[in-house]
Amino acid sequence: MNGEVDWELLADHLGGALAGTPEGDRVAQLVSTDPSWARAATELSAAIAAVTRDLRTLPPVTMPDDVTARLDRALAAAVGAPEAASAPDVAAAPGGAGAPDAAPAAPAGRPVAESRRPPSHPGARKRRRAARWGAGLALAAGVAAFSAVSLTEWQPDQTFPDFIVEGSGDEDKASDGSTDQLAPEAAAPTADEEAGPLMVATGSNYEAATLAITEPARPTPVLGHQNRPSPPVQAPENELGVNEAPPSVVPDPLAWLWLDPAERNECLALIAAALQPPPVSITTVDFATFEGEPALIVWATAGDGSRWAWVSGPDCGLVTGDPDVRYQTQIS
């Protein structure tokens, strides 16, 4: 290092980034003993002072009125539009859904699908999630009487997990009220369901060392999915939730991703975008834990055929553009 000035290191030193480190002490020694380092430090200090002066010439920035108006409109729409047609199980937010002064009226002729979007106001969303979660638990209590509940799966365009049930039984007729209430949401699989990822809640706790060998297998034919081909046999570390009500194994911090297709899809899109090269196909998602912490465990195939295991935390997609990655590794 002596004699040849490392300008980046010198910049770090002058900027205080090396304070208290052995490297900082070494650079300080060089500046005090080596003429070339001393000269460079003088030049860089003066230059940085000039840069600071230049940066101060930048005038304050204020948001243009048209941008303010645009963002006001977007926020008003976010508050009001979805609320106006929220599902009956959602208590309207005070002054929210129907408040005429809070949001523009929904346009006439709005498509039904759009009008059924979940409310986006967090208060209402929270209540809706709670309602769904409660309903899910009610359904779980119902299906517990079935001979076996082996796995939980749904497709990204569904709004509630579609339970995969082995065997059948009439023992649970008493709980039909719950299941009937949920029937519209546990929609029949779409035509392209085979192209979507397998979504499971296995209750597994994954470790980095074992992630590559524990991808859950495709399930056996399921209620309402009889045409689905039988999967290859590849069980994860533990049993696939046999005799467990599936929602109970979904860690609470992941419940919002479990229940909200839009949030879930946003998260998965971020993960797919982060893996290279495109196109990336997500094959399996397990709502589980990673090294003891709630996490989405995702397996994917990249455009070059490489296989990846990816771990995202519960905040996946919470901050725009951030998949809350915890771990990723190429497994083949």
Partner: protein
């Protein structure tokens, strides 16, 4: 700075809580309170008015719907700035353009290639252009600390990196600006056409390993 609250009225945290509880005007009030600073960060990070508006809209809607999950680990403004910056970085990643201009090699003959010292009336424009040529992590740190006036600690909280990382990004960014603006002739390994590596990246996925 980030925790500055108005002398009267509800605090940022109270507004956010009211929004979560269903107050339809609370989030808008929070937005208006901080809009100029959020806008400044977005427009100076992206250097494009329309993209900044798009990013800010993405960020605000994201914050609007995720407010219930705000844990209060940081100030509300820190959280908002973090969301805005992530939205900006998301857009930069999408367009896959982080314009960096190779800095000149060391040596007396190269001095003629250095940016001419701007005349006064062009200073603002030239500074903006130079700023836009920095690697985005350095630019963001400088926008927050040197232009917007956040402390290193606040910027570190917003960017979710160590304070030393913010200091390094600012220091290297300033040094690079010094070359771009003609204040430093030479600059050695500040040049070589490579982006100055950061000691710690953003949360964007990189190689394997536990974060």
């Amino acid at each position: 700075m980030a925790d500055a609250e108005p002398p009267a009225g509800r605090s940022d945290a109270e507004l956010l809580r009211a929004h979560v509880d269903g107050d339809p005007t609370a989030f808008g009030e929070l937005f208006h309170r901080h809009r100029d600073r959020l806008w400044a960060v977005a427009v100076r990070t992206l250097a494009d008015r329309e993209e900044a508006a798009d990013a800010l809209q993405d960020a605000l809607l994201s914050a609007h719907r995720a407010a219930a999950r705000f844990r209060g680990d940081s100030a509300v403004t820190t959280w908002l700035h973090r969301i805005v910056i992530n939205a900006c970085l998301d857009r930069i990643r999408r367009r896959k353009a982080q314009p960096t201009v190779p800095l000149p090699e060391e040596g007396p003959d190269r001095s003629t290639e250095l940016a001419a010292r701007p005349v006064d009336h062009d200073t603002v424009l030239v500074v903006r252009q130079a700023l836009n040529q920095l690697p985005v992590d350095q630019r963001t740190a400088i926008v927050l600390v040197d232009i917007q006036g956040y402390s290193v600690a606040e910027a570190a909280a917003i960017l979710e990196v160590a304070e030393g990382t913010v200091k390094s990004r600012c220091a290297r960014g300033r040094a690079r600006l010094a070359v771009l603006l003609g204040h430093l002739r030479g600059g050695g390994n500040l040049s070589a056409g490579s982006t100055v590596p950061s000691t710690q990246g953003f949360a964007a996925p990189g190689g394997g390993g536990v974060r």
